[in-house]
Amino acid sequence: MSDTLLLEIKNLKTSFRIGEEYYAAVDNISLDVRHNEVLALVGESGSGKSATAFSIMNLHNRAKIEGQILFNGRDIANLPPSKMNKLRGNEISMIFQDPLTALNPLMECGRQIEEVLILHKSNMSSKQRKAYGIDLLNQVGIPRPERIYDQFPHELSGGMRQRIIIAIAIANKPELLIADEPTTALDVTIQAQILDLIRELKNDLNSGVVLITHDLGVVAEMADRVAVMYAGQIVEIADVETLFIQPLHPYTRSLLSSVPNAEGTDDKLHVIQGIVPSLKHLPREGCRFKDRIPWMDDSVHEEHPELHEVSPGHFVRCTCYQHFHFPEQNEEEQAHGIT
């Protein structure tokens, strides 16, 4: 394994303009991804996961991006477009969240795959491109790839479109793959196949993967480390076992108890109180999770919550985790996420 980190994000702050002012959707985040590692990014809808991913790829249209993004030690946050274009789709590529809108409706699927080859593999002949494109469709488990190759996106089911997007992303065997909800529209067997494919890519090429997902099962199966985001910040980061077995931050623990478990079907699922604050109304003072756990005393929160290293590599924000309990339940019972 090489010494330099594959990706190192330092104090990233991504702000969007609403009216006259800028509001940070990603608020001072630092992360790193090593070679041959899967870093999972989980968190509430709107917590800034996709915004972080877009910042890495520099794909935001009108956003203010501050901080450093080091890729193999080189700061790519302010790269000129021509240099950035050499990286995108080649050394860094991304699988997009919404398969229904991410493909050009007027272009055959095959041509959309070929485009990324035309851009980065100029020595390929058009015959080779087509052969490789069909091979890619095979790899992502699309039946009858020759036929699908010439079809338009609207003729495919949601899951098939998602796999076209995956094929585009892995075509040039990227060193860093950012996968934003890569398997939401897929059935579990194809999901497993795709996850295996990503794992293979990672192992063979020593690549790093940033995996964004709501599916904690996928995280448990894939991730080496997990970063949990809430309201634009990282609230907890740990290796995958620690995070699932000894979650500390109240948000992480709430999240884990919301997952339907196999037994006890008639139980109500745990729901986090209150609603996701919109970007404009995000609390920016004190512990951002405070309003969602109103039964906890104010004194348990830090005034300026910091990430604390509770054990090597395990960071938790704010001190409220030390006292946290679910409402009307004894602390003991809930202290362990899953057992």
Binding site: G43, E44, S45, G46, L100, T101, P143, R147, L156, S157, G158, G159, M160, T184, A185, L186, D187, V188, T189, I190, Q191, A192, H214, D215, L216, G217, V218, A220, E221, A223, V240, E241, F244, I245, S254, L255, S258, V259, P260, N261, A262, T265, K268, L269, H270, V271, I272, I275, V276, S278, I338
Partner: protein, 310 residues
């Protein structure tokens, strides 16, 4: 009497090609599917991506042309022949997968929810307002939300608006096509709890389509597994999850990600093993065309697609 009875449903889409763009072949999206849903029950539809789940749901809604077969709702034949159509859209409603794009961003909540009411009933402005407010209360949104626009709500709340619209006409059956797959787990929990609640309150019946077998297991009484337009297995929840008979079902259940990272290796091996078994016994479970056989009953409730013996 079953609330919904689907018998040998077939839906083919033409594949066009050639210079004149003529029909050259069919996609058999749904190829002989039969099932029944009892009043008050939740029926889960799972299966391969592209196996025809959405198409089946849409057919019940009357949104697809049916190639063959029959659909009965409360013993009314829904497709009695060309041209004639029994209108059950009032009694059958659909919740769509994507809470973001299925709500018109330029319409206020009141207009979104009142739309189906306006189509079917003549109410005065005042009555309509009261009705929409009641509905919002039912789905747990504050009455003052009615003049807001969809983008002012969170994903879970938006999905609730979709539900409010779906229950506006007091339907008996709701078809929910991946209603929670775009949501984070906490919001997903909120929507699932809520769906169970209104099911009790209104004695609703659900046809629940999802890829998330955890969610299916949590929600459904009975489950049908689809593969390439056909059913491979159907049974009660426990029959499917603890005693799967068809190799595809076994593979599906084995592929459910395990939420305990400590068992990762073990689970992966098990999955590989089932996959191998699947490949080796493929010909025992599928016919020459790679399609499922017809269903045979093994208990009163459990049916599996097995070849004829002997």
């Amino acid at each position: 009497m079953a609330l919904l009875r689907v018998e040998d449903l077939q839906i083919y889409f033409p594949i066009r090609g050639g210079i004149l763009n003529r029909k050259i072949d069919d996609v058999r999206a749904v190829d002989g599917v039969s099932f029944e849903i009892e009043q008050g029950e939740t029926y889960g539809l799972v299966g391969e991506s592209g196996s025809g789940k959405t198409t089946t749901g849409k057919a019940v809604m009357g949104l697809n042309n049916i190639t063959g077969g029959d659909i009965y709702f409360e013993d009314n034949h829904l497709n009695p022949g060309k041209g004639k159509k029994v209108d059950v859209r009032k009694d059958v409603q659909m919740i769509f997968q994507d809470p973001y794009s299925s709500l018109n961003p330029r319409k206020r909540v009141i207009d979104i929810i009142a739309e189906p009411i306006r189509n079917y009933e003549k109410l005065t402005k005042k009555q309509e307002l009261r009705r929409v407010q009641e509905l919002l209360e039912q789905v747990g949104l504050t009455p003052e939300s009615i003049y807001k626009y969809p983008h002012e709500f969170s994903g879970g709340q938006r999905q609730r608006i979709g539900v409010a619209r779906a229950i506006a006409l007091k339907p008996k059956l709701i078809i929910a096509d991946e209603p929670v797959s775009a949501l984070d787990v906490s919001v997903q929990a909120q929507v699932l709890n809520f769906m169970q609640q209104i099911q009790k309150d209104l004695n609703l019946t659900f046809l629940f389509i999802s890829h998330d077998l955890g969610v299916i297991r949590h929600m459904c009484d009975k489950i049908g597994i689809m593969y390439q337009g056909r059913f491979v297995e159907e049974g009660l929840r426990d029959e499917i999850f603890t005693d799967p008979q068809h190799i595809y079902t076994k593979r599906l259940v084995a592929a459910i990600p395990d939420i305990d990272p400590r068992r990762r290796q073990e689970h992966q091996q098990y999955r590989e093993q089932v996959k191998e078994e699947y490949q080796n016994s493929f010909n025992d479970y599928f016919n020459e065309d790679g399609l499922a056989h017809s269903l045979k009953s093994i208990t009163d409730t459990h049916r599996v697609a097995l070849p004829e013996r002997g």
